[in-house]
């Protein structure tokens, strides 16, 4: 099987409210998969179904080639958006307890904990209670608890919220490291820059329906507008503008640059990039020529507001 997770036509209703309307997803093995959607889109409902916290009304979930069943709890590591630990329980005991609930023996859990505590340099926390730790520190524990049992699939709901930039980076590196070792990761987040940076696949859920899914690049191609950002130093701006407006649609744009050039966004329409470049070269010095690739943020907003 090439897919770690397949969600097939999953429907979930709460009373009269439909939280998931026949949603299907395919998460390839070894991918970092961004699950996007505005608040209330149905992401959490879907994640809860994958975690067997709730049951779908209909539809099917296939995990690593098998229909989802209770034993798969061990294969999934889940970090919910609302983080939580027992406030009055010592860190070590708590981690052992949660790991044992995931099916590890006490010895295995102890071994894994030693590894992670050393790796994250938190060995001294074993006997501390959670309410003695700062929020960021508690988040680290939360992360350890999530990955302790070496899950095949990590599901992280807003993983970076609550972390300072240093720790967020640390956790990001750990996630990427785990991914390299073969762990598939599902990200549910609003932070588009981390999606852009880390995800190779994305899906967008809106109003209980899946609207977009695929490789990040494929999705971007699908949303490409065929427009270019252009920077040019020219003595005859009026002439240049005249030439361009004959063939292309123009608009003002801005990007970072050291030159005091004319900055334009050019919509190619049916023309090729070379035709645009030819026109430009005749009128001045080209300093910037880049295809305007839609950001995940653009795609998100465009899809959701449509």
């Amino acid at each position: 099987m090439d897919n770690i997770l397949e969600v097939k036509n999953v429907v979930k209703q709460y009373g009269d409210y439909t939280a998931l309307n026949s949603v299907s997803l395919t998460v390839p093995k070894g991918s970092i998969y961004g699950l996007l959607g505005p608040n209330g889109a149905g992401k959490t409902s879907l994640i809860r179904i994958i975690n067997q916290i709730t049951m779908p009304d209909s539809g099917e979930i296939i995990l690593d080639g098998e229909v989802l069943q209770p034993k798969h709890i061990q294969s999934i590591g889940y970090m919910p958006e609302e983080r939580g630990l027992y406030k009055n329980m010592k860190v070590g005991e708590q981690c052992l307890y949660l790991a044992q609930l995931k099916g590890l023996t006490k010895q295995e859990a102890k071994k894994e904990l030693d590894y992670w505590f050393e790796r994250l340099e938190i060995q001294g926390w074993w006997n501390k209670k959670i309410n003695e730790l700062s929020k960021g520190m508690a988040q680290k524990i939360q992360f350890v608890v999530t990955v302790l049992h070496k899950p095949k699939l990590l599901i992280l709901d807003e993983p970076f919220s609550g972390f300072d930039p240093v720790n967020a980076n640390l956790i990001k590196d750990e996630i990427i490291e785990l991914n390299k070792q073969g762990t598939s990761v599902i990200f549910s987040t609003h932070r588009m820059e981390s999606v852009e940076e880390m995800c190779d696949h994305i899906a967008l859920i809106h109003k209980s329906n899946k609207l977009i899914e695929g490789k990040l690049n494929d999705v971007k191609k699908q949303f490409r507008t065929n427009s270019y950002e252009v920077g040019i130093l020219s003595n005859n701006i009026e002439g240049l503008m005249y030439d361009l407006s004959q063939k292309f649609t123009l608009s003002q744009t801005d990007f970072k640059s050291l030159n005091d050039e004319l900055k334009l966004e050019v919509q190619l329409g049916t023309s090729t990039p070379n035709e645009l470049l030819n026109t430009l070269i005749q009128r001045g010095q080209v300093t910037h020529f880049v295809e305007k690739i839609p950001s995940v943020n653009d795609i998100f907003i465009k899809t959701v507001t449509e």
Binding site: R48, I73, E82, G84, K87, L101
Partner: protein
């Protein structure tokens, strides 16, 4: 290790390690004993001596009133009535008993007055009435030329001997002892349900507010978590009771070894005085002890454990689902009342109905209804309940328990993931259908 066992262990350890548990376990027996000693001390304290003025114009009664620790009687018939009345207002005397002179005893008995600032105790007035009535009766006898001694000798003092159909002798006052024993166990069950049910509820709310719930139920089934919580908490409770029982037994042992010696010494002095009376009462005491041993002790203890488990599980699953439905403890009040009502009803029925008619319809019916049966049946058992009734009652209890757990688990499952809503009964009903 099975996950349920893990959860039970964690809940148990979390409860037992809690400071309030430790304090409660060792402090409450002390408090209990302390209150007992305090009440005992209060009752040995002498009340203020009250002086009662007597204005007896008939001259018949003045010497009939005997002083005791609480009341002192002064014969002030020679002092004018008005002066006495004034002295009552100025509080020289607690009260004034005015008995007018009258040839006609019938008229006299209607015209006796007691004057005071504060309303007198009911018992005190009854005592006064008794004394006067007795004296008047004797006077009436004499007036009618009746032989008072003959009348006195003719008076019969009846005390019915109770006997069971099986031929054993039965004792009066045993009902009180029986209801005392049954009541104690019934009351224990109620207290335990309320205290530990609340604990279960608080523990659920804690998991909900600390948001760990979602992590836990991605590893175990909500039902397992709920049952683990209920069982773990009950074990902590059983431990607490065992410690109390142990402490109680130690205290009894220490007390009896101290007082045993003490009592032996005083008994020696009193021996000769009460010897004759003692041999008589000793027989009765032996009968009481024998009767106590004849109580179905094994049945009481076994049914206590079974009813205790059944009742506690039944109620604590209610508590668990309430904990799941609310976001904080203050919101839980509206749901708690209907739970506590049947418990209180059970205790009331136990003390009022079972005592008068242990095998009557009301007592029997409520000892079958699962919500009240643990308490009411426990109170009935010392009176001897046919085993088939106990069997039916227990079957109903555990059957209902299964049904309730099913409902509770449904509400629990939905509730633990619901935040920010103050649920209504209607809402809870809707959750059952999710």
């Amino acid at each position: 290790m099975s996950k349920l066992v893990l959860i039970i262990k964690r809940e148990f350890v979390a409860k037992v390690r809690n400071k309030s548990f430790i304090v409660m376990t060792f402090l409450s027996p002390l408090l209990f004993v302390g209150i007992g000693v305090f009440v005992g001390y209060l009752s040995t304290m002498k009340a203020d001596l009250k002086t009662i003025a007597i204005h007896d114009e008939s001259g018949m009664f003045a010497n009939e009133f005997k002083n005791d620790e609480e009341y002192k009687y002064v014969n002030l018939t020679s002092v004018p009535l008005q002066t006495l009345k004034d002295s009552i207002i100025s509080e020289s005397y607690e009260g004034l008993l005015v008995i007018p002179k009258s040839e006609d005893n019938k008229a006299l008995q209607k015209n006796i007055q007691y004057i005071s600032n504060d309303s007198p105790g009911v018992m005190f007035i009854e005592d006064l009435e008794d004394i006067i009535a007795q004296k008047l009766t004797t006077a009436n006898y004499q007036k009618a030329n009746l032989d008072t001694l003959a009348i006195k000798n003719a008076k019969a003092d009846v005390s019915i001997n109770l006997e069971k159909a099986s031929g054993e002798q039965a004792l009066k006052g045993l009902n009180e002892i029986k209801i005392g024993i049954g009541g104690m166990f019934g009351y224990l069950i109620m207290m335990f349900i309320i205290i530990y049910g609340n604990m279960v509820m608080r523990s659920v709310i804690e998991e909900k507010t600390s948001r760990i719930i979602e992590i836990i139920i991605s590893s175990v089934k909500p039902f397992q978590l709920m049952m683990g919580k209920i069982i773990g908490t009950s074990l902590a409770g059983i431990l607490q009771f065992l410690i109390w029982a142990l402490l109680g037994m130690t205290a009894m042992f220490v007390m009896s070894s101290i007082f045993g010696v003490h009592m032996g010494a005083t008994a020696g002095v009193q021996d000769q005085v009460v010897h004759a009376a003692q041999t008589e009462t000793a027989g009765t005491i032996q009968l009481y002890i024998k009767e106590l041993w004849n109580l179905p002790i094994a049945t009481i203890l076994i049914s206590f454990i079974i009813y205790f488990i059944g009742g506690y599980f039944l109620y604590s699953s209610f508590y668990a689902s309430i904990g799941a439905a609310v976001d904080n403890e203050t919101d839980s009040q509206q749901f708690l009342l209907p739970i506590i009502m049947p418990l209180i009803l059970g205790v009331y029925i136990g003390f009022f109905t079972v005592m008068n008619d242990p095998h009557g319809t009301i007592a029997t019916v409520f000892s079958m209804i699962p919500l009240t049966s643990p308490i009411v049946m426990m109170m009935r058992i010392p009176f001897g309940v046919p085993w088939w009734q106990i069997a039916i009652s227990m079957t109903l209890l555990f059957g209902t328990f299964h049904g309730v757990v099913w409902f509770a688990a449904k509400i629990y499952r939905v509730g633990i993931l619901m935040y920010g809503k103050k649920p209504t009964w209607k809402e809870l009903y809707k959750w059952l259908k999710y």
